[in-house]
């Protein structure tokens, strides 16, 4: 099993951190993992990305070129990276800011930012809500490992907030999965 995941949006949305958390959760699940991200002018403005490759085998080639999962939190990122998504891949996007045309694979629109602001009064947890949703729907890493990885990475005073965000993500995923059937 080898999966390529891209978390994309704009700088400041916490996607680099989300990529690191996803990677560390995968390590806890005894997987091999490789993470890379956009650098330089590319990461200052416009779209930002954090790529994670998760595999049972040694990962040689360090680039994600054929995405199994694409998370997009901005229209620009979705437009830019959709062409890298496998034909049967997952697109998970923030439907409060993005419109997409139908794709071959599964396109899941959830208004992550809207929900974050409504439930938490801050968009800062959008990354964790959407990452949790992604993990729960695709089962790329276990929720147990995801939680442990978050606890190890975020400041102690933010752990409660982030655990609430995880629960929100799980709730959204369960709702989606039951509706999809």
């Amino acid at each position: 099993m080898k999966k390529e995941i891209r978390l994309s949006g704009s700088g400041g949305q916490g996607l680099i951190l989300a990529g690191i958390i996803l990677s560390e959760a995968a390590i806890m699940d005894s997987k091999k993992v490789l993470q890379s991200q956009s650098y330089g002018p590319e990461s200052r403005g416009g779209s930002s990305r954090s790529d994670v490759i998760i595999s049972d085998e040694t990962i040689y080639f360090p680039r994600a070129v054929n995405l199994d999962i694409l998370l997009s939190l901005t229209q620009e990122a979705a437009d830019k990276f959709l062409c890298n998504l496998k034909s049967n891949g997952y697109l998970i996007y923030d439907s409060s800011v993005i419109k997409v045309n139908p794709i071959d694979g599964e396109a899941i629109g959830i208004p992550f930012a809207e929900i974050a602001i409504k439930k938490f009064k801050t968009a800062i947890v959008t990354n964790i809500i959407s990452l949790t949703f992604l993990c729960k729907v695709t089962e790329i890493v276990s929720i147990h490992s995801l939680k442990s990885a978050i606890k190890a990475r975020v400041k102690e005073k933010f752990i409660d907030l982030n655990m609430k965000a995880v629960r929100q993500g799980i709730k959204l995923a369960e709702k989606y999965l039951s509706e999809r059937g």
């Binding site: 400041g12 800062i124 190890a152 982030n162």
Partner: protein
């Protein structure tokens, strides 16, 4: 020189293989080295505790003749090498020997940054207004209108005032003397060596062979006389009426202030960090809580 006979400098010279030296007859380098060694003798500094670092040029050949820890580096870089040595072994007395071209042309960046940091180095600049070793090319201190092989029609560029440069950049001790004024030079070296901070001493020197020949003053004696006649101590200079100051070069300690020194500041940082660590350790022992990484990641 009654109190300090000539032979004291022999205690500091390397007698194996290193003589005769490379300097031309009439050069100021030997006089200046003698002044420096007498200052070192007067201060009672140990040979083992002195590191002498130089760049490239006539004066930068000085270290090879003296029995210290000696380092002859690349052109312009003596101060940067010395910075590493001083940080590594603060207990060493680090003396930089450099020339006008070495320190203010190719090495200008390191010069101003050492002054800015106020790192505890004694920087002795032998300023002969020319590149002597390579046969007389113009330097940033060659005065306007003076000749050099690369200024065959006379230099059209203004020259640096090295003391003013050092002072403005932040050096805490700045002085100027000449090869002619040996007693004054020795006294200034003694003060500079004792100063905690970046101390810069410009020593005006003569190069009869390159500079003198090209500018029609090819006698070393004549050049030394010019050092005597065209310079005056700062106190005397300040008493001069404005109209008589033109063309006069000021000697003496031009700037001497107390300000934080780099090596000290670095040690303070180290001490404060180890104190923090100790406090954290004590705290965690008190609370007896499970250890949590002190560098927990911040939410972006």
């Amino acid at each position: 020189m009654k109190n300090i006979p000539q032979k004291v400098i022999h205690r500091y010279l390397r007698h194996d293989k290193k003589f005769p030296h490379v300097w031309c007859a009439g050069c100021g380098n030997g006089i200046i080295l003698g002044d420096l060694l007498r200052a070192i003798y007067n201060l009672g500094l140990e040979k083992d505790d002195i590191a002498m670092v130089s760049g490239i040029g006539c004066s930068s050949r000085m270290p090879v003749y003296v029995d210290f820890n000696t380092l002859h580096t690349t052109h312009g870089r003596a101060i940067a090498f010395a910075t590493g040595i001083k940080m590594a072994k603060p207990e060493l007395k680090v003396i930089v020997i450099t020339g006008d071209g070495d320190v203010s042309a190719i090495g200008g960046n390191h010069f101003i940054h050492a002054a800015r940091r106020n790192i505890n180095l004694t920087i002795i600049i032998v300023n002969n207004n020319i590149y002597g070793m390579t046969g007389g090319q113009c330097s940033p201190t060659t005065p306007i209108g003076k000749f050099a092989t690369t200024a065959p029609y006379g230099s059209i560029e203004p020259n640096f005032d090295l003391c003013e440069l050092a002072k403005c950049a932040g050096a805490s001790f700045v002085a100027r003397t000449t090869a002619f004024h040996t007693t004054e030079a020795r006294q200034i070296f003694e003060k500079a060596l004792q100063k905690k901070g970046c101390s810069v001493v410009e020593v005006i020197s003569q190069c009869p062979v390159s500079y003198g020949k090209m500018n029609n003053i090819s006698s070393a004696v004549k050049m030394l006389e010019l050092q005597r006649d065209n310079t005056l101590p700062i106190a005397a200079y300040e008493k001069l009426p404005e109209e008589k100051r033109a063309g006069k070069i000021v000697r003496g300690i031009l700037h001497d202030v107390e300000k934080p020194e780099f090596i000290d500041q670095y040690q303070k940082l180290v001490d404060s960090l180890s104190l923090q660590k100790q406090e954290k350790f004590d705290e965690s022992k008190k609370e007896n809580k499970s250890s949590k990484s002190e560098e927990s990641k911040s939410q972006e």
